[in-house]
């Protein structure tokens, strides 16, 4: 299995640079607000729970569909679900590493954060996983990167625009992906994270099932760009 991961890391290396670039860009406002623990904490949470999920979701849209050799994929002896999961793992690890780096930098700038580092890290990772898995699931389910991209972009935008409205509806709050940002002290936070994990698992399942219809994957509209 390790060669598969090596291959995936090699394939994603350009995207990983983009990931690191976002972290570098984000460090700039962090340095500017380092004296305010509230603002710095807010920036860390926004990066982990809002920016990184969008970035990784856009990368995971093309998990299979952006692979120019997907005809080979579907005929290879390796089961495609292993491939999908390995690519997810690589992306999530890259996201986790980047997030850890940014949080570490934040901690170095300001030791006192208004939300615990554990909660920021775990909350962000779960949201990243949810959006990434949903992105891939939508793209494969709709057999198109653009279609999946539009749906995930719409979900992400709605969650960001209506974050104040969601607070007033406890039912919606359970599914809200940016809960660490909006209500980190809510007693519903663990349940919310659990629901997001469940959504991620279901999305991975959908991704895998969608690849069983090879005709849709091979002939789908997709970018022929390097992943």
């Amino acid at each position: 299995m390790w060669p598969i991961y090596q291959a995936n890391i090699r394939m994603y290396r350009r995207n990983l640079w983009v990931l690191f670039a976002t972290a570098a860009v984000w460090l700039v406002p962090m340095v500017l607000v380092r004296r305010s623990e509230q603002q710095l904490t807010q920036l860390l949470i926004v990066y982990g729970e809002v920016v990184l999920p969008a970035v990784l979701a856009s990368m995971s849209l093309g998990l299979v569909l952006n692979d120019p050799y997907r005809e080979v994929l579907v005929t290879a002896p390796l089961q495609i679900r292993h491939l999908i999961i390995s690519r997810f793992v690589v992306l999530l690890c890259a996201g986790a590493l980047t997030l850890a780096g940014v949080i570490g930098a934040g901690y170095a700038l300001q030791q006192y954060l208004t939300v615990s580092i554990d909660q920021i890290f775990i909350g962000s990772i779960i949201t990243i996983a949810a959006f990434s898995c949903l992105g891939s699931g939508l793209a494969l389910g709709l057999a198109g990167v653009t279609g999946g991209g539009i749906c995930i972009a719409a979900l992400w935008t709605c969650a960001l625009l209506f974050r104040e409205t969601v607070l007033q509806a406890p039912g919606l709050l359970l599914f809200y992906p940016f809960m660490t940002l909006q209500a980190p002290n809510s007693p519903l936070w663990p349940i919310n994270r659990g629901i997001l994990i469940a959504i991620s698992i279901i999305a991975v399942f959908v991704s895998v099932r969608s690849t069983e219809n090879e005709e849709r994957i091979i002939t789908s509209e997709a970018n022929h760009e390097e992943i």
Binding site: N15, V18, T22, V25, P29, Q39, Q42, L43, V46, V50, V51, A54, V55, S58, M59, G62, L142, G144, V145, T146, G147, G149, I150, C151, A153, A154, W156, T157, C158, L160, L161, T165, L167, Q168, P170, P187, E221, N223, H224, E225
Partner: protein
Amino acid sequence: MKTSSFKTLFITEFRLLIRKTSFWLYPTLMLLMSVLVVSTEASSRSASAFDVTVSLISNLAAFQVLPLAWIAVSTFAKNSEISRDWLWTSPTDSHFIVLSQLSGLFLAVTLSSITALLAAAISSVAYGIIEAQQILTFLTIPASIILFIGCFELLVITSISLVFRKSVTVFIVIALLYTLIISGVILPYTTLTNPINYTLSGLRFDSVATIGAERPLIRSLLWLYMSCGITLVILAICLVSWRDLRHGWHRRHTRHIYLPLVVALASSTAAAFVYRGAVAQQTVPPPVTDQIDTWHVLQADHQGLIDNGALAVDSRLTVRNASASPRDSIVLRLNPGLDVTAVLVDDQPAQALRDGETVRIVQTDWRIDPNGQAVVRLSYRGLPLLLREDYSRANSRIREEPIMFARPVRTYIDATTVLLQRDGDWRAWPQTSAPYSARSQQIELDIRGYRIALGSGSRADNNQQPTRYLWQNSIPQLLLVAGDYTLHQSEQGDVYLPRMGSPRDYERALSALRMRQRLAGWLDEAPTAPYQAVMLPYAQQVALGGVLVGVPANARVAFSAVQDDTYAEAQWATGMLGVEMVREVLQERVAWTVQPLHTQGQPRSLSIACTYNAAGEETCVREVYGGNTPQAPYGRVVEPALPSPLLHAWSVVLGRQLLRDELGRATLIEEQRFWQALASPQAAGTNAELDARLMLHKRGLLPQNLPDQVSDSRRIAALVVPLEQRCREQGIPGLMKLLHEAGQQHPAGGTPFTEIGFRQLMQRL
């Protein structure tokens, strides 16, 4: 040949786009979003068509960015693929190829936006916000703004796509920028100087004046957006052309693009200047504080003409220096949009220098000693400005609302709408904390060119044009309103409503008429004619004048200081109406102690966030923020949030009695308990006091945005409790007897009725 290639490519791109299943997700999502926005607005039931319009514009403009990014990126990123090599074999230059693709995209996006707005219009009809025949009128404003903004967003996304070319990279760049703006990391304040944020929130349309005061800003802003967007795209096309030499495209073709680039840059620069000019007009100038409560007006005569949006006034004021020091100038408050054309002091020519929101009248070798008098004649004309500080709010993305320096809106004139009140800055008057009243005064106003004009003065035109209103001697209240109203006749009286107002306007107008009639009965007033209710443009408070009852046109926006929409809005809005109506009437009957004008400003918003625990119990937390306000960066001379605690206490008690049948005994008893908790020294600092204060805020019974909420609310409660007790013991006649006595001892314009005087009166009677 180039034109036919352009047309072919444009149509081809459009057809390729609409053949993709993924593209159809975009208009579907836009349609769902617009319906969701309308249903959310409709759930508050006080939203007017223009509230829905603003919400649609801000939500659709913000929502469509990222989905649009995917559509645009998938179009332009593919240009470098093998499957698109046919593009480069065409005789058309690369910039025409990109332009034709962009045009195809723009057409598809425009059709999607129009579909979404049509769905919003149909939903609005279904929810009763507008009528079916108003669909076209309803669509005009949001369609024109959304299309411009959508075009701008598309142009920016196209520029980024052309530069970066990789779908994922482009999406990441756009998502990053979007997050930085939405979360308030960059451009934290939604103000006029940050035009990006201006469209996302802060637009304010009025149901009577429609676009109204926003018109000059909107025009220049949309021009700025389009110019900048086109400039960015042309720059990106230049870059693409330079990078794509491998496709056989030669550099000499760049000359064709330089001219459009120069024109676009010039247009952007001009638009930026025009927009900056519009913003500068809307920024409150530095305050003038050296002559506040300095002059008493002994005699005032004003003659004015309002003609199709322009105002011309000739004023004659006899003023007395009421300060302890001599003065070598006279500062008069006058709207910044009005220019003084002639000025005389004691029949000698003088100079009028514009100084912020005032004019400073100076004369060579002239001074006036304490108690000395002068006669000032001024002529001024122009279009009064309504500053955004007064009718909108500066929002922050980072939960820190700036201090506000808003004044009540008492002056508004445009081509279709007029609002003039006695204490407005449409007429020259010294800066004073007291009402604009003089021992002897006359105001004559002619109005022409408006569909419906209503004034509280006597008609003096023999039913000819222009309509002339006259107010003479003591002028308790002055109200002149004009606009495109529809007349509704009811048992309570005539009601003038805007064509596309809130569904609740009519109910509130009828409530206002009932309250006015009841109050007139208590005070033994005999109006000369039946009362008429009219919805006021931009005003946030009730205004009375003769038989006219002016009601703020939209409760939710009018009382925009309160942000929490979970209030029982009907009850709150009507409650506020009652309190304000009593206050307006009592102000003219008794002289109240008035807090002076000040420059500290007050917290812009009272934010009450309520959350519910698992058992459904509500916990509310009130937060007040402060800081500099971007639209009044130098501060401003403003009226106090609580001019008179005693007047407010009277207004609350009588205001609730006006609504006692509607509210019910249980509600009134509950409120009495709250006031008692607030007034009780034993409850000070406890949860009971906090809950009482929050609940009274929720019902509109405590003034909004008090600088010292705790002590001011306790002070009011200490006055409300004995008044309520008197009402329980002796009923309304008991309160009227007190009021009558207070009016006798402290008539309007005389010595003020203080809290000590009030307690003495309570003991005596």
